[in-house]
């Protein structure tokens, strides 16, 4: 696919598991907090083994979502212990923005 070729051009496989960027990322579309969260996530999960990553990413939100569907943010929040009221508050603007579009 064309999109795969695009990825390979920028991050060719070094071996089966690792890739290395050939150019700097265009950060124009990311906020400082976006970058902080991406860095934090890479630091936290980048050192885990394949099995550890599978274990952490296949809990309630994954198991309650049909295969290959997008995991609802509500399910991700519930997996982390959020109750109905918290979920309703936090997702209010997400639901409203989606409805408006």
């Amino acid at each position: 696919m064309a999109s795969d070729r695009g990825v390979e051009k920028n991050v060719p496989n070094q071996n089966r598991y690792n890739v290395e960027p050939l150019q700097d990322a265009n950060l124009y579309f990311l906020s400082k907090t976006d970058i902080q969260e991406l860095d934090a996530s890479l630091t936290k999960y980048g050192i885990l083994s394949w099995n550890e990553i599978i274990e952490r990413s296949h809990a309630y939100a994954w198991s309650s979502t049909p295969l290959n569907d997008r995991m609802p943010v509500e399910a991700i929040m519930r997996e982390n212990g959020a109750d109905d009221q918290f979920i309703a508050e936090v997702t209010e603007s997400i639901r409203a923005a989606k409805e408006l579009n």
Binding site: Y28, A88, S93, R95, L100
Partner: protein, 132 residues
């Protein structure tokens, strides 16, 4: 299309919030590709936002005395820039689903944009496009 511009405050009844509720939102800018950026206005700040310093700092209080269509003193939730195509918003206005309620005072809009331009929550693209 009815005139909307930076500072226009709009109102709509949302059916998918829990429970369904009317909400105000304010236009902050428009891209060259005619995508309108807006912030929601909330009567209170939810607990999640209160606990996150960067999000909490972007809640701008506005007074009912200045905006009599509001039921309560409220907050512009300027932590989350939402976007809608101008054509979709135009359709909302023509059907009456969304209505124009007023316009933000110049000094409030100025304060809001100044905070948004300085915030780490937004990309340079969003700042150049919607807050310039």
């Amino acid at each position: 299309m009815k005139e909307i511009c930076r500072g226009t405050i709009l109102h709509r009844l949302f059916q998918t919030t829990i429970p369904p509720k009317p909400k105000f939102f304010i236009v902050v800018g428009e891209s060259e590709t005619h995508v309108v950026g807006y912030f929601f206005i909330n009567s209170k700040i939810n607990g999640f936002v209160q606990r996150n310093k960067a999000l909490f700092e972007m809640q701008m209080p506005i007074k009912r005395a200045d905006y009599p269509f509001l039921r309560y003193d409220s907050f512009v939730g300027a932590h989350e820039l939402n976007k809608i195509d101008n054509s979709a918003l135009s359709s909302e206005l023509s059907t009456g689903e969304t209505t124009i309620k007023g316009c933000m005072k110049f000094e409030d809009m100025d304060r809001l944009l100044e905070a948004a331009r300085a915030s780490d929550l937004f990309s340079q693209y969003e700042k150049d496009t919607y807050f310039r």
